[in-house]
Symmetry: C2
Subunit: 256 residues, 2 copies
């Protein structure tokens, strides 16, 4: 028996999220089905994160146990032959038998992508949240700085979460954007705005609520200086809306 870790990329548009469900297509469901078929064993992957419906990944992580004699790095080649085009195994490798991807220290990075213009952009509309109202990404950047460090993020967690603790550490926040351009409505737009969040782990919907809060900061509806008070309040109603799933992409993990 050996434990294999796979790095998985997917376009989440057509899936009901990571976690297996009886009557809806999910990433975990497809991986279990195709791995079981490939190996002739009953395979159940353990994912490092359970992304929501519509969320994408460039580097999700999962492990599974198998008695197969396929060399660890060849599982990716074998599995990609039968997976649908919107799910790809980028890498497969052997890990220690007791390696559990949700019980090890790691840094996870997510990107939340916004398209800021009068109209949406076809070539990125599957992967960005379109915002057409005035937005100042400089203010978003100011607000983002207040999230780093260890905090109780209860205000940034959806109500149906069952986490035992709502304390998390945010290692790094970045807001990247290009120069503005003006439109006939007299306003400035910034095109693509990317928010990168790196943390020890995230509560349910946490990155999307941080993104929604930064958007409200960009609109001027929340002042960046108010962010510490919103965090301290532990009051979900004081943070911004949960930004739409399609703008969120799980970029990857750094272990150890």
């Amino acid at each position: 028996m050996k434990r294999i870790m796979i790095t998985v990329a997917y376009d989440g548009t057509g899936y009901n999220g990571w976690q297996i469900q009886p009557d809806a297509p999910t990433i975990e469901g497809v991986l279990n089905r195709e791995l079981s078929r490939l190996l002739g064993e009953d395979i159940h992957v353990i994912g490092a994160s359970r992304t929501d419906a519509g969320v994408h990944a460039e580097g999700a992580i999962a492990v599974f146990d198998t008695s197969s004699s396929i060399p660890a790095d060849k599982f990716s080649y074998a599995l990609n032959k039968s997976l649908p085009e919107d799910i790809v195994i980028r890498k497969s490798e052997e890990v220690a038998g007791d390696f559990h991807p949700r019980r090890v220290d790691c840094k996870k990075t997510y990107r939340y992508s916004i398209w800021h213009d009068v109209f949406p952009m076809p070539v990125n509309s599957r992967y960005t949240h379109w915002v057409h109202y005035p937005l100042d990404p400089g203010r978003m950047k100011e607000a983002a700085a207040f999230f780093t460090g260890e905090h109780d993020f209860a205000a940034f967690c959806s109500a149906n979460a069952d986490a035992s603790s709502t304390v998390r550490r945010v290692y790094d926040m970045k807001v990247e954007y290009g120069p503005p351009f003006s439109r006939s409505d007299g306003r400035s737009y910034y095109g693509r705005i990317d928010i990168f969040v790196t943390g020890s782990g995230f509560l349910y919907n946490m990155v999307r609520i941080i993104a929604g809060t930064l958007i409200e900061a960009g609109e001027g509806r929340i002042k960046s200086g108010d962010i510490p008070g919103i965090i301290d309040s532990c009051d979900r109603d004081r943070a911004g809306d949960t930004a739409p799933a399609k703008g969120l992409t799980l970029i990857g993990y750094e272990f150890g």
Copy 2:
């Protein structure tokens, strides 16, 4: 009568290119149909470039004449209501009645995007050409430098082209890429590699043949120092293959 210029973005995946055809969906065909329906006139747009089947655009340009009283900047709003999701009018504005988008001096910029890894990447596979063999983007960059300036680009033009002259000026070439990562096959991969080409105009398939030639330079099959000789030869057989359409995106125009 006034002449309106529209800036058009599209995902070219589902279209047989720009130019109107009787039995296949094309960007020009959809624009003519929806503009004619909106304005109650028989509208024929004149495009600045005719992109091939599967090529994308962030900023294509076209003009049309209308006697409509709709303010110039409102055509975009009106037209976007009826266009399919994969075509968006980013901007509409009035131009001089004799402005012809193929008869004015301008700089056009295209991006050719490659995904370099063992496996494809679902979140960009519609917009990048997947290359899995060894590629050194440093060599691609070296080779790219030889394309700038005014040259006879006959070697970089598909045979069925009917251009009266094959001389074009390339103002700028850029090859952008991130740090390499290694895979279990012992090779280095670079993930996304973007080639930007800015020129006075391009021959049929010219950007895709330049991209294909740079890929062969990255593979080491063509030496960067051989590029001037390939250009001078005016021999299509000496340049690289025509890279696939899906990796090509028309970024935009700079007039005057």
